[in-house]
């Protein structure tokens, strides 16, 4: 049907990347460039009495040393809820909290200077876990925990549980993990006295631009953020503190400053995936109807709120949108601890809540005697359904995904003949989104109030409002920009005289290949070849705007923008071509670098002739078109409800494991992923996404964990942080797509990137139960934990006898 869409196409920057000519942030050097390093707190919680930089400044080669006081707008400048400063000035809240920065001729000199900065600390009592964080001895932010709580409710829980025949309660915990990007955070900032040029491997260049403008009181027109190649930040660069520190150093010394985090800093100082405690409760009727679902989530938000509010909202939506149930509640309690702060990470809370939800569903099925597949098919959401939290589901292949994944994992299942090694399968399913309607003001988005006075009246103790001369104002911070209700991306498509195309896109390619997909969409629309297109990556000076690369939104939202621009280009060219072809403009088809009259293939002209003619007729006016798309999603209302996305992808994943009962070790034999992500635009890339996602999910489920003792990370390196090794990947990966056409998406596509890891932890847990009858309640499910649970069960059985 299509010439390019749906056909495996290699990445347009693949050749550069594998031959080493692609430019990553580390590869960029400019004349007079300096290097920066930060001084970080060695204490998890300590008040800063004074910082003395005199000795450090005397080190030969050191240009300057700055603290937060040197930065025009330092306090509450970074992060969604604005509680993170560029450099901390009041007190350090975790080991690695950045309090000063050195700029020098090289990194080694920076290190020497760091040793000479004298900080007088007053060490405060610290909290390291959720339990302690709920009632801290010394508050970390002075914000009452209840003020941060949020919940969404549909129907009546009381009624729901009263109707239930059985009630199930359970407790699940997940751990904190790092994104472990191949390319650590890196920034090159160059303030030359009039313009702030920043090269950074960020995900959200336009947010960074606005924050930079505000921090240094410079017009947005004088800020430029450029994204070179990016090595998989996986969500971690939505809160990008280093970017602003580098900019502050450059702003102070008026020379280019480069800062790259080493691996240890990446582990400790950048944002991480939060840890959760879930208390879940389900009411089920004997006929298998879910009557009530309740979840209380306590989250280890770390030292700053990071993205915790958004994560809470997201999880509430996910918890309430996979199964049909009339009475649902999700309560979310961020807890401050003296650990590194949490932020978004691929799946944005979904893998965590899915572990709790899908493990519980499996338990319900086992205890009530339902078939887990039948139960999911009976209760799963479907096309046209409006979930309790307001998701308007359009294309939905959830049930196909479940059936196909189940069939695939059952096929070729061979039980083990070794009595110590049990083989079993497990399955889990999930829903996700394609883009989030964030608005531009997270707490407005969170509460639904766009006026500080209204919020103050409704919740007098809100931490987000300050009262000045009797007038309620949003608290200082990035997010006091008036709310912007949008999830927009734009692009600029320029058709050259001979029909080739230059495409400026707004959302950075993080390595997942969105530039390639953008080029494919443009090429398909205009009937040209991939090699005719040049994609110019995200650069805030390129005259387009996009919210950034997160929430699996780029292919969908930016893709529609490209389609929009290409359609405009076609309409313009067709106008002039119609005169030559002597047919109606709407009868003209663009294909194979030619223009045809529909239904009359002998009447054609070359695209290059048509474009040249168009240029000529328009006296050389540039064929340049801005493409635009803003999804028809809505910002959640005051109750947190609304269809936050325009398209919802679904998936079901299953695994076959071999569990060694003597040692608790789990070997993954097979894994199946069946995804409904609408039309698959580039199959080879989609398959790669799913493989990567499953790999990440398996590591998260079985091995990865940031190990801390008293707030200090003890495994911030590849030696001790247990990533899943390639050797542990199942040899047999079955990846299938249910190509349910999504009416809103470009060529029927919807998001895929994040969802690909979501069900793996729950699927593994369900397989463990099927193997040995023991259910895990925590992630990671390491051999130690599994063996411990098996042993406890055996001991209990012995005692029972």
């Amino acid at each position: 049907m299509y010439d390019i869409i749906g056909k495996s196409t290699p990445l347009i920057d693949g050749r550069e990347k594998v031959t080493g000519t692609a430019q990553f942030i580390r590869d960029i050097t400019v004349p007079h460039m300096l290097y920066g390093k930060t001084l970080k707190s060695p204490y998890p919680h300590a008040k800063i009495i004074s910082i003395d930089t005199t000795e450090a400044k005397k080190v030969p080669g050191v240009i300057d040393v700055i603290t937060g006081k040197d930065i025009p707008v330092n306090e509450r400048a970074v992060g969604t809820s604005g509680d993170l400063s560029v450099l901390t000035t009041d007190k350090a809240r975790f080991i690695g909290d950045e309090v000063a920065a050195v700029v020098a001729v090289d990194e080694k000199t920076c290190d020497e200077a760091l040793k000479l900065i004298k900080v007088e600390w007053e060490v405060l009592p610290a909290v390291y876990g959720i339990e302690d964080g709920l009632n801290p001895e010394e508050p970390i932010h002075g914000v009452e925990k209840d003020h941060m709580q949020l919940h969404v409710l549909t129907g009546s829980l009381e009624k729901g549980f009263a109707e239930a025949d059985r009630i199930f309660e359970d407790h699940f915990t997940t751990t904190t993990v790092e994104h472990v990007p191949s390319d650590t955070e890196g920034v090159l900032a160059d303030w030359n006295g009039s313009t702030m040029n920043v090269w950074a491997n960020t995900q959200v260049p336009y947010w960074d631009k606005m924050m930079l403008g505000r921090i240094f009181h410079i017009p947005y027109s004088k800020v430029r953020v450029i994204c070179p190649c990016n090595g998989a930040p996986l969500g971690g660069r939505n809160v990008f503190r280093l970017l602003f520190i580098a900019a502050a150093l450059s702003w102070k010394v008026r020379r280019p400053v480069k800062m790259i985090r080493n691996r240890e800093e990446e582990f400790i100082c950048s944002s991480i995936r939060d840890g959760y405690h879930f208390d879940v409760k389900f009411g089920v009727k004997n006929d298998g109807t879910l009557t009530a679902m309740d979840c209380w989530a306590n989250i280890d938000s770390g030292a700053y709120i990071g993205w915790s509010h958004a994560l809470g909202q997201a999880q509430g939506h996910l918890f309430c949108s996979l199964y049909k149930c009339a009475n649902m509640r999700y309560t979310y309690q961020p807890v401050f601890t003296n650990n590194s702060y949490g932020g978004p990470m691929r799946s944005f809370g979904n893998a965590e809540i899915n572990f709790a939800l899908e493990s519980s569903i499996d338990r319900i099925c086992h205890e009530m005697g339902f078939d887990p597949v039948e139960f999911r098919l009976k209760n799963g959401v479907e096309q046209g359904y409006m979930t309790g939290i307001g998701w308007q589901i359009q294309g939905c292949g959830l049930k196909d995904c479940i059936k196909k994944a189940d069939a695939a994992i059952r096929k070729n299942f061979v039980p083990s003949d070794d009595p110590d090694k049990v083989r079993a399968t497990g399955l889990a399913c999930a829903a996700h989104w394609t883009g989030w309607r964030v608005g531009f003001n997270s707490f407005i988005w969170r509460t639904g109030y766009d006026n500080p006075q209204e919020l103050l009246e409704a919740r007098p103790d809100t931490p987000y409002v300050k009262v000045e001369n009797g007038v309620a104002k949003w608290r200082e911070g990035f997010w006091d920009v008036p709310g912007m209700d949008s999830d927009r991306s734009t692009c600029n498509l320029q058709v050259n005289e001979e029909g080739s195309v230059i495409l400026h896109v707004s959302d950075p390619d993080l390595g997942q290949g969105t530039y390639t997909v953008m080029a494919m969409i443009a090429a398909e629309e205009l009937g040209i070849k991939m090699e005719d297109i040049k994609v110019i990556g995200a650069d805030t000076d390129s005259g387009v705007f996009g919210f950034g690369s997160y929430a699996s939104r780029v292919t969908f939202v930016a893709g529609r923008a490209v389609q929009n621009a290409a359609k405009k280009a076609k309409a313009c060219i067709a106008q002039y071509a119609a005169e030559y072809l002597k047919c109606d403009t709407d009868k003209i088809i663009f294909k194979d670098r030619k223009l045809f009259e529909e239904g009359n293939p002998s009447n054609w002209m070359l695209l290059s002739d048509a474009t040249f003619r168009t240029y000529s007729e328009r006296n050389g006016e540039l064929l340049s078109f801005i493409g635009n798309y803003d999804p028809g999603s809505i910002v959640p209302d005051v109750d947190g409800k609304g269809s936050i996305s325009e398209a919802y992808p679904f998936l079901c994943q299953a695994v076959e494991i071999e569990l060694n009962k003597k040692t608790g070790e789990i070997k993954l034999l097979r894994a199946v992923s069946v995804n409904d992500s609408g039309t698959i635009l580039n199959p080879i890339q989609a398959e790669g996404q799913v493989q990567g996602g499953m790999f990440m999910g398996m590591g998260y489920a079985l091995k990865e964990e940031i190990q801390r003792k008293k707030g200090r990370v003890y495994n911030p390196n590849y030696t001790n942080y247990n990533l899943l090794p390639m050797a542990d990947m199942p040899k047999d990966l079955h990846i299938e797509f249910v190509e349910q056409f999504e009416p809103n998406g470009p060529f029927g596509a919807k998001g895929l990137g994040e969802s690909a890891l979501v069900c793996i932890p729950a699927a593994i847990n369900n397989a463990i139960y099927n193997a040995v009858g023991v259910r895990m309640h925590s992630i990671p499910m390491t051999p130690q934990v599994v063996l411990g649970e098996i042993t406890r069960k055996e001991n209990a059985e012995k005692e029972g006898k």
Binding site: D111, L114, N660, P716, N717, G788
Partner: protein, 326 residues
Amino acid sequence: MNFEYLKPMSLDEAFKMLEEHENAKLYAGGTDLLWQMRAETVAPDYIIDLKGVQGLDKIKETEEAVEIGAMTTLRAVETSALLLEKYPAVSEAAKVVASQKLRNKATIGGNLLQRIKCPFYNQSHINLFQRESIDSCFKRGGKKCLVMEYGDDVYHTITGKSYCKAPIPSDLAIPLAALDASVILKSFDGEREIPLTELYKVGGELSLKAGEILVKICIPKKGNQRNGFAAHMAFPGSFSQISVAADLIMEGNRCVSASIYLGGVSQKPYAAQEVETLLIGAEIYPEIINGVVLELFKDVKITNDDVLFKIAKARDMLKDLLHRLV
């Protein structure tokens, strides 16, 4: 990190340099030393590179023993036809160390003499704030061993009387101990030969004296030996959490001699005498193996799931190894 690089061309020259320069470190493959320097666990003023010294990288067979020069690379140990035939346990141990790139550089001497690997000691000190952060290991200026405070885990010893809980880091030491190997240490004053197991002191330190250089490892020949090695690590190329090596001499089904050592569980190679005594003199059948391995670490107190797993895994590995050898 400032140091002077010295390259002696003979052992005598090396001894002289060791004597003349304070705070000097020997450099063989460098894969451990440079790493330790980066973590700032050592900060030598002089580095004495032994690569110029001839004759230390040979694997030779004599009438009584097989001798391995200390500067032999792990890759050479791994692929040596002589070792593969007579002492596959040693080759197998070399094979699990790090990656082939590193094994091309790393030497057997360096592997035996590497510093302890403990997350509290040397795994996270690249940055100043981490070094300065509260609760340092007692070997790095702190007050106590942090394992004592935080409890046992998979990275630390489960048996032995040491205060330091970092297990022996060398994978090669385990099969060499099982094979009853000895090491030759040379200095100005001459040379001495000590059993390999005595190279390691309780406390995580080495019994090497100042001015001494490990020059070779001797494995005595005992006739028809069957030996093998197995290791468990979190991921390929990382440090073993548990390793096991066994050397058996069999007459038919009867076990004449058994030597079993484990790594990752104590500060010296752990001699599994509780299993050895049951095997020696016995007729060995699969059922017997499954039974005797349950004796391993029978007296170790299980403090948490990590210790539980370590013991279970050690038994499982030993079981598989004995089945393979018999």
